[in-house]
Every structure is written in structure tokens, then in C-alpha cells.
Symmetry: C2
């Protein structure tokens, strides 16, 4: 009815998914949030119509009318599955490979939670993660990364059915994808089976064998037929992304022994059979609730902590130990301050895990005193992702989608590009991911342009729903952590320096808690209303403060605004924004060691931006780079002087 | 001396690279651009000191002083190898996995050129692509994608030495990387050998065997020892990213039988031995030049075409067939117009190849009438990358770095995120990549938010050196192709619609050739100086023109500016920019079906931007989405009216 969509995959997967959903998957359609349900990921998100059908048939809150509204404005059945939108959809999928890696994160979360909360005789966390994935998923690099890691971690409760239909949009997989997938997954340490995916019994046997193999993740290579039943289009690329057309739909129904005139027909007896899932699910959850009640009596604190985590909450006083840094101490990189904040939070939040993409120490995302997560040590809270940024991002999303665990991930800011599709998915799916991106400017120095972010702050700020926070010093970093941890339904980037920056003297300056409003007057102009405003973020705030002093010595009154987060500031009421950046003050200079892209928003048509314009960075000690690129207090002061001379010649 | 860097990998690879560079690699240090040289990629770019040493020792234009200036401002020896910066560096590397995939592109280019230009008895293109890659390279998904494709394409002249040193920054590869790499590459269809990488003879034998195997790419898994020779740090993660320190450098030299007091010591006899590469290289190139001269006599046109391609030039009249579209014809998607332009160019430029990441038809990057590139059909000009955007981008960079071939690649704009690290590398390396990004807005309709770019235009515009061109109609699309093809030293994004847009009537409007200046007045206000300016890009230009007519009917004079490319416009002289956007006209409304991020630059503090702010897209027919999100002529006209009412109340 939608006259668009991807019918073929859904048709080919009908048999296998019927078996999976009626004989294996543990779920309660009436409570999609039941914590101990099996997780199901349709990594091949384009087959959304399959998932919606399964949800409808098994009794989720989805009607036949919802199915009829497939791909229409505000319907519950959008073109690709959206987790926050449709009950029973665990993760948003469509961009291939993401769901595959999400599932690995889910299985990791399950094992970690089981280790953290289960007690002898109390198995309150014990479920599987199932996924259906496509050729496209397996071609994408993010899935390769996640598969290698899943094998390494021996995630035995991960069961993937690979829809081996030999067709992608361009045509036969023979065009591009002739590798031996089974052998590859064997090399990763997976349990691999090859079956006829149209044979219900074979599917059931394979799923049972996959469950029985608990020391390895399982891949079931299921040979299926895209567009199954369509006389004209079965096993063709046409069936992938095109509606079959009215005639062929009729012909297909005829071929399959169905009434060609019936539309959206679900015979009562079939529906009744499917809907047994409701009772089955309710009984399973009831049984679990009884067990959980017993657990809660014996381990009330643990039960409470589990509930808090699963509801995206935070334990009381979680932020009590967040460090306060003394300006008397020597300069410290904000990445180092971040490490201390992370340690303080981790102590209070047992369900927080953290790690990095082979830069765990460098990004200070290794929780002090904690051990590495592994098959042998599943309670380990330090996640080692290897040099696999993309899988890291997508797995973190999976951990969050599973629920109950807060993952923190770290890499160099420049490599956020590698995981950008997952950062976007976090924002689109309302997931409270915390991305620690260090080495956040040319200030990283000698590693040079390949490692120096230039356009990254702008390009991250452009992602809707993501908050980018670039704290000025150690104390703003503590505050940034407070904000990031509170954002349980939206992702946050912490942009942190490699190089040491001074701990700002808050006795003279405004308190770091101003960070939470996105921007604040950190140093007011002295001796009267400001002539000019200097806006800075991160490591450049100290430069701005320096410039302010130089100008003050000449009698120029400059206000300095620390603006760690555009997004948080933009969310403030206009009155506050006008207080910080009074519209009447047009002489504004912004400084940020990055592309000036987008800064016109804050400096206005008459302002200036000191950034890195139209070029990449350079390999040299960082102080040299700052000097050569004009990221200096002298330059800031000079630009302010020029602006004032231009705008008010009479005044000088 | 730099007191930073990655010495360990270089030390472990000394033996293997000595063998490769003195016994196998074909190159002429005195002409790094010799077309038939073997290509060498140091995918493990952090070991740059190894490459610089090899370049110095073999006689490239690099001095001992350059080595001493390692990682200093404007030195020839930056932290990571930069292709445009240091003679003999083929590709910029550092971000892991990129070099691996670049090499696959190089080998593809070699085979294609050999098929295109070689003639019986004239083997003018016949060289190998070598690479050294690290654990990190093999963990990255982009390398997995490229490896699978290289196996599929049976690129038999690709020889990779994998530096299997069991160490990455975080520690032992046992932490995260325990897969069976050899078996995985075997599954991809590679020829796999396992050797002791510290054994020169074993390395030589393996390289010889790899050369002998011409039907498959080769992976030599060479067990090496990071920090080889260092008593304290050999085989430790410390040796990866830290200078050893003075004492340990002394101890290492002692252990290796070297004078501990000597710095930058290259004994004359050793240098003389290495420098034989100069004579060897000159002789090899001389011999090739003689053969090429013979070829040129027999096949002058082919020789000329080869030279033109290798020098990043274009054949005469390459753009003669670029289509001109008739406004009388019915609306046509710019992606469709782009397909016609591509066909027209491809006909004239035999060394142009094009393809897509399983969206070859959808992005119209299939050259009409041409066949698929494959092992069996190496002259095929249609590249099928499979669902591997990242490898596509990195391979295109490799094709360009090889030289002689212009690659065009296509995917949906939203999936540019998957290849973003490669887009950045193209810009950083001055490579004239052409990225065809279609389905460029919510205008793609039903596929919904996972497939609808919102922040992508902004985030691509933020990349230094990249030109983003979003043509308004079919004729602007032709012009966009002209610009993109001319940009042989910088990458270009063509942002194209899925949906049909009208072919604008150029009899009434300014010619599409205005595109080349980035922005132009496509429709002047009627009846006097403009009251307001409406700025639009791509599919929204037609909406802007519609708004202008509505306003004209009310006596409001609005100029419409088509602004297909910010970057091209920003490169114009101020006088032209002021002509198009006169500073005095403050009433400006921009419309673009994307995040408004950055548009303040053009509309100024008093202007308005109609875009998609703070949200993602939606799944619905596209006309519904445009209406619901206010991307309409009505809204544009309304905003103009409001601005004029506000700015000039006396006037109304």
C-alpha cells in the first residue's frame, strides 16, 4: 500500500523469523521494557515491514491500521525501524552494520549485568541477543570490527541469523561479495552453521545448537530466497527495494495458495496462534517478577541499583566525589582532569563501564583500579575495543539500548570521524552515550595534520540532539561530567585537551558551574560597561583572559565569555543569552583552535573569529603551532582594538 | 631528538623493510613521479621515521638535517607521512586502515591502466603495490572492507607485509585482537604466508613467493619485535608511542653493536650500499623511458592520453558533450541529470571510472554502456564496491594517488558519514576525488530519518579544501560536473536530489554557468532595487523563485540568489560577493532543506534561515515532509514580509 519499501527481504525471512519469534525469542508483547527479555535486532532495517508484522502478530501495541500506514507521516511504522518510536523496536536500524554491532554491545551488557547483579540462586539477568543481518551488514567494516571483538570476548549468548539471499541492491552478491563468510567468522572465533533458511526445522535445529554453544557467538548462515513466492521477482535485485506491483502481488499470493483478492488478511486462527506469545510472555515475565521479588528481599540494595540503572536513573549522591581542582596546582590537561572525574563517578555508579579504542590510557578512559572486561573476567569495567572506533560507538549504542549500563568511550577527536555514523545513531535514538574525545585541537602538537581535528567541533555541533562540551579547565571538566551523566536520553561529546591548561582562579572569575548554561561571563570587563566581548572555548579561554588583561592595561574594557557548549547555551532563555551576549555590543571576537565554521552565529556580522581557516594543522610542538596560526592573546587583543577602532572611530 | 614519535615499530621493521626496499621495490629516488614505479604505502603511518630513513638512505631528496628536524614546524619530516609534502611519500597515512585501502585502489588503478594502455609488445604499465601494515590497520573496518574487495577482484600485484608485532598502544594484542588473521585473509581469497619478520632470508623468500602468485593479493604475516634491540622495551607497548630516552637509546645501540655515543650515524659504506638504489632506479627508469618512447611512436594518441592522465590533466574537449537541458522538458532529479553528465564526460575521458557502494544505479554513477570492473574484465569502468562506503572512499584516494585514473564514487549523502575519514584524507592530500552524494535531503521521502541527511551539508562544508556543490537543477548539475572535473587537486562533493526538480527557465533567469562562482543572482528583483534577498541551494531554489513571484504580486521586490557552493563563492573577490549580496540589504532569508548550521555567515545577524533545526527527518512522502517542516514558498514569503516589517516599519 505504501508503494515503496523493501518487500523482498521480508518475504525471504518469513519462515526463519516465524521460527525464531514463536519458538525461541523470550519477550512479553505487553511490556516491551521487561528487563530480562531477549533482545532482538533487525540489523537489516530495510526489512522493517517484517519487524512490524512480527510485532503486530505477536501482540505488541501495533494495529493493522498502523501497518496500513507504513511509511506515512507520524505513523508508528516508518521506513526503517526507530527505537524511540515503535513499541518493541529495540534499536534504530537501516544504516547497515550498525545493528550488528549494537547486538554485540547488548550481549556485552547482558553478561556484565549478570555478573554484577546475579547472586547464587538468583539469576535475574539471563537472556540472549538475537539478530537478523544481511549481506550488506556483513560487508560493512563496522560489523567486521564488532564480529572480531565478539569472538575475542566469547559472547556466547549472541545468536545471529545471516540472511544469505545472494542479492543486494546492485544485483547478485557475486558482483562484490565472494568471500567465504563462514570461514571468516570461524577465524573470528564464532560458532558457524550453514542451513537452508526456508526449512523451518533446520532453522529450529540451528537456533537450538546456537543456544547450546555458550562459549562462542553464533552465526547461522541461512540460505534464503529474496522475494520468496514471487513468480517474477524471487531471487532478483528488483525484489530488494521495489514494491512488486499489484499484478505480481496477486500472482505471488496465488503461488503461495493465498486469496489474491485479500489485502492485509490475517486469518483468525493464524492470529490466535501467533498471539499465544502474549500469554507466553506474560507467564515468563510473571515468573521472573516473582524471582526478582525474592532477589529484592535478599539483596535490596542490589535490586534497587539494578532498577535505577534499567530506568536510566542515577544512584543518589552519584556526583558527590566529583573533583574540585585548586588553581594553586599546576596546569593540567582537561583529559587528565576528565580521568579523575570519571574515576569519581565510577566509584559511585557500579554500572558504569569505560574504555577506549586502543587509546584508553591516552584518553584517560581507563577507570583507575578496575580490570579489563573479558570472557575470563566478565565483571571487568574497562572496555578494550582495539583500534575499532566504529564498533566502539555502535557497541556503546547497543549497551545503552540494552539498558542498565552506562558506557563511556574514548578516542582522539579526529577519529570521531570513524565512528560518526554511530554518534548520529545515538542522537537519533535518544541514547545517553558519553564520547570522550581528547587531543581536541592542533594543541596535540607533533602528530600533525592527520591527527589534528580542525572541522570536527563544527561537524559534531551540527548533529541534532548531540551536546558538544569543550571545558576550559579542570573545574569546567568536572562540571561537564555532571552534565554528561545527567543526559541519559541524549549523547554528549566531551572535547578535551592533550596539552596542560591552567586551572583558572575562580576567586577572581565566575564559578565553573556556569558551564551548565553553555556559556557564561567568566570575567567581566573592569571599570564599567564592556566595550567588547571575547568569546572562547576550551584551551583558548586562558588566552582570552590573557587578552582581556592586556586590553585592560590600555583602558579597553573587554568581557570574556567562556562558551563550552553551543547547544546548552542555545537552550537557555533569550533573556539569559542576551545577558551573556548583549545585542548592543557588536564588537565581539571569538577564539577557538578549530575551523571558524558557524561562529558567525555568536559574533554576528560585525564580529571576528580567530580560528584555523581553510587549512589543516601542522606537525610541530604545540606552542609553535599556536603562535604561527595566530592563536594568541596578542592577536585577540589586536582584533578587539581593530573592531573598536572601526565601529566607534569618534571614541578613540 | 624530537622527544616524541613512535620508534618501536620502525625498529621492528628495519630488517623487513631493508629487504623490501633494496631487493624488491622498483623506484627511482631521483624521480618520485616515474609512472611505472612500484607504489609503496606505509599504512602504519606512525612509523614515519622508518619511511623517512628509507627515503634518505635510498637517495630521495631528503637530508640528514631533515631527519634531525623530525616533527618540527615546516620540516620535510612531519609526525605522519604527508604525500604532498615529502618527496617519495605516496600517500598520507596515520589514521589506521586508510593506507591499507589506498593500496587496493592503487593496484586497481595499475591493472586498469595496464589494460587500457598496454599493447602487444608494449608493457608500459607493469608494477606492483607494496604496503606495510600494522595490527591497527587490520583491526579497522575499512581495511576489512578493502581486503574483501581486493580478494574478490583478485588483485594479484598487491603485496602486503603485516607487521605482526603483537603490540598496540594499549598493550598486547591479546587484549582485543585474538582472531586468526591468516584464516580471515584466506577467507577473503588472499594468498597468505607466515614468516619470521626478523629473518631477512625469510622475508625475501616470502616477497618472491608473493610476486609469483599473480592471481591473488598477498599477505605476508611477519612476526616482528617492536622496539627490537632495546633491552628494556622490546616487545612492550611502551616502545610503541614513546621515545626510549637517552639511557635506553645508548643501551640499545650497545646491544646492537653500535657506537652508543654516535647520533644520526650512517657509516659511509652502509650509505654507499643503500645509495645503489639511485643507479638502479635511474637504469630502470631509463629502460622504461626507451620502451615508452617506442610505444609513443607506435601509439601516439594513447601515449598522449596516458601522459595527460598521469599529469592530472584532461583531454582536449573533454566537456564538449556535457548536456544542456531544456526547460520545456519535465522535471528531472539532479541525480539523473548527473548521470547524463557523467556519461558525457566518460565518453571523452577514457581513464575515468565510476561506481557506487551498492547504490550504483540509485546514484546514477553507472557509466552507460560500460561493463563492471572485475578480475575477468579488468578494463571494466564500472566499479562495484558493495556495501563498503569507507573502502570506496579510501580506494578512490588510492586510485588518485596512483595517478592516471579519475574515479567517481557514489552513495547516499547520509552514508558519507561512513567514508568521512577518507573524504578528509582526500582534502588533506590534495586529491581530486569526486563524491556523488545523492538523496541529499528529507526530499528522499519514505526511507525516513536514518537515510535523510540533516547535518551533512554543514559537516562537509566544514572540511577545509573540499568543495560542496548542490546544484539547483539539471543545467546547474552539468556545470557542477565541469567544475568538479577541473578540480584535479582538491575533492568535490556533488549533492544531488532523489526527487525530480524543475529545469529552470534560463531565458528568464541567469545562466547556469553562474554556478562556477559559487553563488549568483539567478532572478533579480523586478521593478527596482531589491528590498530583500532570498538565498537557496539545490532543490530549494525553485521554492525561492516561487516565493519571489508571490512577493512580487504584493509589490515586494526580492532578489533570488542561487548558492550552490559556499566554498566557490567564498573564493570570489569581495567585490563580486558584495554584488551578489550587497551589504546594505539586511533583509535576507535563506532556505535549505538541512540544518541551518552556519548560514548566519550569509544571512547576517538580522537574517532568517529556513532549515531543519534541532531535529532529524521523518518517514513520509517527500511533499508531505516539506510542507510539515515549513520548506515552502509560503513560509519563505512570510519570513521576508516579517523581516521587512521589522526592519522598516515606516515603509509599510
Amino acid at each position: 500500500k505504501a508503494n515503496s519499501g523493501h518487500p523482498g527481504t521480508a518475504m525471504g525471512l518469513a519462515t526463519a523469523s516465524y521460527v525464531m519469534w514463536t519458538k525461541f525469542l523470550k519477550f512479553n508483547p505487553r511490556d516491551p521494557q521487561w528487563p530480562d527479555r531477549d533482545r532482538f535486532v533487525l540489523s537489516a532495517g530495510h526489512a522493517s515491514v517484517l519487524l512490524y508484522s512480527l510485532l503486530y502478530l505477536t501482540g505488541y501495541d501495533l494495529t493493522l491500521d498502523d501497518l496500513k500506514n507504513f511509511r506515512q507521516w507520524e505513523s508508528k511504522t516508518p521506513g526503517h525501524p526507530e527505537a524511540t518510536h515503535t513499541p518493541g523496536v529495540e534499536v534504530t536500524t537501516g544504516p547497515l552494520g550498525q545493528g550488528f554491532a549494537n547486538g554485540v554491545g547488548m550481549a556485552l551488557a547482558e553478561r556484565f549485568l549478570a555478573t554484577l547483579f546475579n547472586r547464587p540462586g538468583h539469576n535475574i539477568v539471563d537472556h540472549h541477543t538475537y539478530a537478523i543481518c544481511s549481506d550488506g551488514d556483513l560487508m560493512e567494516g563496522v560489523a567486521s570490527e564488532a564480529a572480531s571483538l565478539a569472538g575475542h570476548l566469547k559472547l556466547g549468548k549472541l545468536i545471529y541469523l545471516y540472511d544469505d539471499n545472494k542479492i543486494s541492491i546492485d544485483g547478485s552478491t557475486g558482483l562484490t561479495f565472494t568471500e567465504d563468510v563462514g570461514k571468516r567468522f570461524d577465524a573470528y572465533g564464532w560458532h558457524v552453521q550453514r542451513i537452508d533458511g526456508m526449512d523451518a526445522e533446520a532453522v529450529a535445529n540451528a537456533l537450538a545448537a546456537a543456544k547450546a554453544e555458550t562459549s562462542k557467538p553464533s552465526l547461522i548462515i541461512a540460505r534464503t530466497h529474496i522475494g520468496y513466492g514471487s513468480p517474477k521477482y524471487q531471487d532478483t535485485a528488483f525484489a530488494h527495494g521495489n514494491p512488486l506491483g499489484e499484478d505480481e502481488v496477486r500472482a505471488t499470493k496465488q503461488r503461495l495458495g493465498w486469496d489474491p483478492d485479500a489485502h492485509f488478511l490475517v486469518p483468525d486462527e493464524a492470529l490466535a496462534e501467533w498471539r499465544k506469545a502474549v500469554d507466553r510472555g506474560r507467564a515468563a515475565q510473571d515468573e521472573w517478577e516473582r524471582r526478582f521479588a525474592a532477589y529484592a528481599r535478599e539483596y535490596p540494595a542490589e535490586a534497587e541499583m539494578f532498577r535505577t540503572g534499567m530506568s536510566r536513573g542515577m544512584p543518589a549522591s552519584w556526583d558527590a566525589d566529583l573533583p574540585v581542582f585548586d588553581p594553586g596546582d599546576k596546569p593540567i590537561a582537561t583529559r587528565a582532569a576528565s580521568g579523575k572525574a570519571l574515576d569519581a563517578v565510577a566509584k559511585r555508579v557500579p554500572y558504569l563501564v569505560a574504555g577506549g579504542a586502543d587509546l584508553t590510557e591516552n584518553t584517560n578512559t581507563k577507570i583507575s583500579g578496575e580490570t579489563d572486561q573479558s570472557a575470563e573476567n566478565p565483571s571487568g569495567r574497562v572496555l578494550r575495543f582495539g583500534i575499532r572506533e566504529h564498533a566502539m560507538g555502535a557497541m556503546a549504542n547497543g549497551v545503552l539500548a540494552h539498558g542498565g549500563v552506562v558506557p563511556v568511550t574514548g578516542t582522539f577527536m579526529v577519529f570521531s570521524d570513524y565512528m560518526r555514523p554511530s554518534i548520529r545513531m545515538a542522537a537519533l535514538s535518544n541514547l545517553g552515550a558519553i564520547f570522550v574525545l581528547t587531543h581536541d585541537s592542533v594543541g596535540l602538537g607533533e602528530d600533525g595534520p592527520t591527527h589534528q581535528p580542525i572541522e570536527h567541533l563544527a561537524s559534531l555541533r551540527a548533529i541534532p540532539g548531540l551536546a558538544v562540551i569543550r571545558p576550559a579547565d579542570a573545574n569546567e571538566t568536572s562540571e561537564a561530567w555532571r552534565v554528561a551523566m545527567e543526559r541519559r536520553n541524549a549523547p554528549t561529546v566531551l572535547a578535551l585537551t592533550r596539552q596542560a591548561v591552567p586551572i583558572l582562579g575562580r576567586a577572581q572569575l565566575a564559578p565553573a558551574s556556569g558551564l551548565r548554561r553553555g556559556a557564561y561571563v567568566i570575567a567581566e570587563a573592569e571599570g564599567g560597561a564592556p566595550d567588547a566581548i571575547i568569546i572562547a572555548t576550551g584551551s583558548e579561554v586562558a588566552i582570552a583572559l590573557d587578552a582581556r588583561e592586556r586590553l585592560a592595561a590600555e583602558g579597553v574594557r573587554a568581557r570574556v565569555v567562556s562558551m563550552p557548549s553551543w547547544e546548552l547555551f542555545a537552550a537557555q532563555p533569550q533573556s539569559y543569552r542576551d545577558e551573556v551576549l548583549p545585542p548592543a555590543i557588536k564588537a565581539r571576537v571569538a577564539i577557538e583552535a578549530a575551523s571558524p565554521f558557524g561562529w558567525e552565529r555568536w559574533v554576528g556580522s560585525e564580529g571576528r573569529v580567530i580560528g584555523i581557516n581553510g587549512r589543516f594543522g601542522a606537525s610541530a610542538p604545540y606552542a609553535v603551532i599556536y603562535e604561527k596560526l595566530g592563536l594568541t592573546a596578542d592577536n585577540v587583543a589586536g582584533q578587539v582594538r581593530e573592531l573598536l577602532a572601526r565601529s566607534a572611530p569618534a571614541r578613540r
